[in-house]
Amino acid sequence: MLGIVGYGAYIPKYRIKTAEIAKIWGKNPKEIEKGLLIKEKSVPGIDEDTITIAVEAGQNALARSGINPKDIGALFIGSESHPYAVKPSGTVVAEALNINRELRLADMEFACKAGTAAMQIILSMVKAGDIKYGMAIGADTSQGRPGDALEYSAAAGGAAFIIGKDPAAIIEDTYSFTTDTPDFWRREGENYPKHGARFTGEPSYFRHIIQATKGLLNKVGRNIEEYDYVVFHQPNGKFPVKAMKYFKVPKEKYLPGLVVDRIGNCYSGSSPIGLTAVLDIANEGDKILLTSYGSGAGSDSFSIIVTKRLKEIRDKAKKTEYYIERKQYISYGVYTKFRKKLKI
């Protein structure tokens, strides 16, 4: 049986409130908060980026797994904010985590679902017997154009998963659904993404989340009611809740993995962080359904079953709730400094 042998999250400690951003652009804070269902979002410190976030999350995953980093044979990091256009984030992360140099490594990119794509690739490599353990990380320090709707949600954080034998959570199966949908993109050299407003929502997020989730359920031969927890990608607070309602998933099954209202959309880290929050509380035998979404567009859906090992490992690193609640609020002025929007 293969699956998650170690996991860990990391979220920078800085937060900016939706109301603070709205104030700057003369918008009604209440309206925006109600529209997005995001109260505040995480902001990376001035010295944090996808690489440093991946290192922190990776350290937590290693601590939980108890394995020697030298036994990790592959590292894939999914992000839309790799610090270098050319030079893989994974090279720095592997060196910092002391991972074996006999290593398969590449950076992944698929908007907000590159982290789950990395998990699938690692799972396949372990399944094929090519490697003993592999690490998949989804991490981002995403940016929205100042004044754009995305500025309220684009946040920073990441989650890492070590996949191998004797897991704390079995990955029973995965399923993906991909199309060419022009809902969101960023061209090379551009600082901020663009979105094709007409394609936001129904033809993108909902279509892919629903198709992938249905495809997975069909593949594993289960009803969604059999799952104890359901986590969907969370670009804002509204979309995942609407998708949960479509599948008639009750609140108590999705609220534990819904973190966007307190940290924003961590892009490649978004649904993976939601999964870590669920792993922090789930019990042996619990079934977890995870479906990511990446613009462009595609969704990866996972069927996960918790084993008795989870209880033994989860206290070996800081829990996701710790990182969510550990926070320091900053003003829009400090935010522009941290995000290097000031020219000095």
Binding site: K13, I46, D47, D49, I51, E56, P83, V92, K340
Partner: protein, 138 residues
């Protein structure tokens, strides 16, 4: 105690990955003293010493610190920032930046742990230099 090299060449940065990324130093098996950065010869035992590579735990206490308000080149965006002398649990002292902690919460004797962060970049098109900084343990 080491001097913090403010700017290092790309080859020098590359050669120092072990100490800079992972706090790799060494320890003399004869007298028991630990060294960071690693030494070639034990200053206490000379040629009779036996140095062994060790990885420091990344835990320590603030031995001293100063608030920098007139930044070095490349640190303008971080101003004001705090440079501390950290006494590692294993003994050696190391100079580094203390981050993610309000200046008023930084006092001598507080426990800190290492975190992996961006130190500076050469230029917007240059290499990004990563390394360890320190945060006060909450």
């Amino acid at each position: 105690m080491i001097k913090m090299v403010h700017r290092s060449s790309i080859p020098l940065h590359w050669r120092l990955y072990e100490p800079k990324y992972k706090l790799v130093g060494n320890k003399c098996l004869k007298c028991g003293e630990s060294f960071f950065p690693p030494r070639n010869i034990c200053p206490n035992c000379g040629r009779k010493g036996a140095l062994k590579k060790i990885v420091f735990s990344g835990r320590g206490t603030i031995y001293s610190y100063t608030v920098i308000r007139t930044p070095l080149d490349g640190f303008e965006q971080q101003t004001p920032y705090v440079i501390g002398v950290i006494k590692l649990k294993e003994g050696p002292k190391i100079v580094g930046q203390i981050v993610d902690t309000e200046i008023r919460d930084i006092t001598i004797g507080k426990e800190v742990k290492s975190v992996f962060r961006k130190i500076y970049d050469d230029s917007p098109s240059g290499l990004i230099h990563y390394g360890l900084k320190w945060v006060v343990i909450e």
